[in-house]
Symmetry: C2
Subunit: 529 residues, 2 copies
């Protein structure tokens, strides 16, 4: 089973699931029962709530008489049912396979997650993924007991959310003329337009589908940088220099200006997002915002008027305005660790991606932290040194490396450590032009991340690898195109889209340099222009 | 509604589907009930069998008291339920949308299909489609009351079936080094390996999923031509000249030799296919087999020994051997109209693709015929003259052109016309590298083909187009990336993969020439070498 439950007591015997007997569910568990009914032969399963259990915890008891799942909440019961699915023969995961009633081995499992936030980011901006693919991505994440989908909806290379009253965001911003083939250092392009977007109905379906699987969708509208697609649609949002949706990877210098009308645009978009996504946390990005265009008169005027410490202070001011607006809607900011520079808004949750330092700083500053350092959790990074790996970029990030990831950095007090609310893997899709490539980069490394986020702090790689064998049989049954343990298949290589492997020491040095401003004396508004 | 039912009588009022009341189903209809239960709120629907109705026919009665579906068989009830789904608001087709109980308008519908074979071919050889995509393709076809998936599993460019004892078919034959970008006349390649294959479990899942939707999967192993992928895996099957899976589109000259061991290979593969696919008809292709390599000594020896009329007679002899083998397994041959040359085996069903002449000849020779002429039913052909159409190939084949397709050629007697058992659209995927492109090429033209195959012989395009508007709302809800009626979107063009539009008159002349051998005096075995 993956992730490994807290306690598993195997017994002799078992019982055969069968019959048309409906699943017996206590009031409040109708949703879990309906979901489960569609997946496995029903007879002999009881679902109950147990007030003594942690909210996401459960106890699964299988005896010769049947299976009982008690959970601290519907989510706990749901996780117990996911564990039950993993106890069945892998073929049972093909709902259309047929065959006799599967035998469930007798067992008692007591389980609860280590972290409350067990997340995965999906970047649908660099490559659009149709709704059906997103639903499948969520279903597979939930199978591994993840509970957050961080949906990266906008970026320089594409805007994916239809917003009423702003039609050019999708008629223009959702499409780019072509895409790079491989790492940007090679400057190759594919002469293939790309794009797509989600309607409000599409996004509501994604939210409802995820909710049925106890997954919260945290949307992200990246601002004030990573906004070239929106600026291409509405040039008045920027400096006037960006006229098209970005076709190259990397970071655009064309960022939002800080006119009040532009802030109003952001508020309008966030209002639409809040109307669709019930998540308390709303992502506003805040990462990688070059200041080149913040030397224009409007920005200087704003800096002077607000008494800010230059562009860095300006970004903190911008973030604070968005935080105020979200707060007025009962929401909180979710942002990348760059927003710590200049002081992040109170109540903001930080996605710490640049090593461990930002996580430490954020926790000590009283922010909740989601750990997702690139060297441990960026699933676009190459999985091996095999020359057949498709578009190898980033540092080497093997399955074992992900498994070794510890979300709580060393050196925190117990109280500070409680601020680390979880771990997340990030699926950036510059080099994942298809669902098959997403599968290849995501699995089985997301299995390892799931165990990092759910399972015990002390983990045993050999034991995980032993469990992974049968688990890959489950992924086969679920139709997941994971990277085989033996390495890439002939069709996985992408010689036409060359990569750019990085050395870990070099990357660590680069990250250290990137985070220099976090180590500088804290910038605060009104500290002087 | 698409396809249009035979008779629709609207009444006033309606009733609200709701409640947890299970669908009431007569014995024998549990499968339809289980399928339907997962899709729409249940309460108040009765499913019954009616011996007075045609097997695939149904009567759907909706009144203020509820909905009743009577069908001539479970398939008929299934089609009634599909019609019911189309009566609901489109949003109801998103099972995860939520919202209140939908109102069904009161109506009486009496319906039955015109043709028994309502097919669509999916080519998974030129571009592999993962299992989840195939299941979705089937689900969408069944939504349009199609009942046959012709699954083109092997070709020069890839072999997609794992066969026990023949591991190189998939370790070698399932992968090609790269693919062409656009029409082969441009000679462009993408430097991107491609491949994939289905395990027996994968195929069984596809069969079971299709069966639940009353779709028969007719597998095709194309032989003796279109075999370069298998020959690359096992060179002894060919002349020794083909050493790799074909990377260019078009027809390979490297075909199977006619040694007895090679025929045994074919029989072994067909046995495996028969073990997985319950379809009585088994596709053996037979199309486009160049005779270049059939001048070798082994072929000449065979021709002399059997007293055949050269290579054409040799192919008829080969087909007869395969037909004998399939007959010994209780199956029948399904082949392209090329197998008519030299005389097709008795009981063979012909897929007539080269204009109407082969359909006429086959029907007059006593063969069942599936009409799928390229100019009317090849969905890789370009949908418009818009320069934004992706990789425009073939003749112009608009939605209206498909809608105008008449599967029964003129000039047949009533008795001969009965041999035309149906119509089929063919989705050849040379230029469909993703599910999104498959969606774009397939819809909405497959809606038109569905109405050709199910609906009345006399059709009204304006009426169809009026119904198509709301139907596209259903496809939106189902997540189908159809071609918008307004034309291609910015991301649909593929300037890097240029096409090769054809003129209809030219193509008709070419097809006339290609079918010359069907007009020649019939070749029969033992007619002299």
């Amino acid at each position: 089973m993956i992730p490994l439950p807290v306690s598993v007591t195997r017994r002799t015997g078992g019982f055969a699931l069968s019959g048309t007997d409906p699943i017996a569910a206590e009031p409040g568990l109708e949703g879990v029962a309906a979901w489960l009914r569609g997946l496995i032969p029903a007879g002999g399963i009881g679902l109950r709530l147990g007030a003594d259990l942690p909210p996401e915890g459960y106890v699964l008891d299988v005896s010769a008489r049947g299976a009982e799942i008690r959970g601290g909440s519907p989510a706990g019961v749901f996780y117990g049912a996911q564990t039950l699915r993993q106890l069945l023969p892998a073929a049972t995961l093909r709902p259309h396979r047929g065959g006799g009633p599967p035998l469930v081995p007798a067992v008692r499992i007591e389980d609860a997650p280590r972290f409350a936030w067990r997340g995965v980011l999906l970047d649908v901006a660099r490559h659009f993924m149709p709704v059906a693919g997103v639903l499948r991505f969520i279903d597979l994440a939930a199978f591994h007991k993840l509970n957050v989908l961080h949906l990266h909806l906008t970026d320089d290379q594409g805007w994916r959310v239809e917003v009423p009253g702003l039609p050019r965001l999708t008629s223009v911003g959702a499409w780019r003329a072509e895409s790079m083939l491989g790492s940007r250092i090679h400057g190759r392009y594919d002469a293939r337009p790309h794009g797509g977007f989600y309607t409000a109905d599409d996004l509501r379906e994604i939210v409802a589908y995820a909710a049925e699987r106890h997954v919260t969708v945290v949307p992200e509208i990246d601002m004030p940088g990573h906004m070239q697609a929106a600026i291409a649609a509405y040039p008045e949002l920027g400096s006037g220099a960006a006229r098209e949706v970005r076709t190259s990877w990397g970071i655009s210098k064309h960022v939002l200006n800080v006119r009040e009308e532009t802030l109003d645009f952001c508020r309008e978009v966030l209002d639409h997002v809040c109307a669709i996504f019930p998540s308390e946390l709303i992502g506003i990005g805040g990462d990688e915002c070059p200041a080149d265009e913040w030397n224009d008169p409007a920005a200087r005027e704003r800096i002077a008027a607000e008494g800010l410490a230059g562009p860095a202070g300006l970004q903190a001011w911008f973030t604070a305005r968005m935080a105020e607006h979200l707060a007025s809607r009962g929401r909180r900011v979710f942002g990348w660790d760059e927003i710590l520079a200049g002081g992040a808004p109170a109540g903001a949750t930080i996605a710490a991606w640049r090593g461990t330092e930002p996580a430490v700083l954020a926790a000590r500053s009283g922010h909740d932290v989601v750990s997702c350092p690139d060297n441990s959790a960026y699933l676009d990074y190459r999985q091996s040194d095999d020359p057949g790996e498709p578009t190898p970029v980033g540092t080497l990030l093997t399955l074992a490396d992900v498994y070794a990831f510890e979300p709580v950095p060393a050196g925190l007090t117990d109280r500070e450590a409680e601020r680390i609310i979880g771990a997340q893997a990030n699926v950036w899709t510059e080099h994942m032009e298809s669902q098959r490539r997403v599968d290849y980069q995501t699995y089985p490394r997301l299995c390892a991340l799931a165990e990092v986020a759910w399972g015990p702090r002390r983990r045993d790689l050999a034991d995980f690898e032993a469990r992974l064998g049968p688990h890959l049989g489950r992924l086969d049954a679920l139709g997941v195109g994971y990277r085989p343990p033996s390495g890439p298949r002939p069709g996985d290589a992408r010689p036409g889209a060359p990569g750019h492997p990085r050395d870990l020491a070099d990357r660590l040095a680069e990250v250290h340099e990137m985070t220099a401003d976090l180590r500088a004396p804290r910038l605060t508004p009104k500290a002087g222009a």
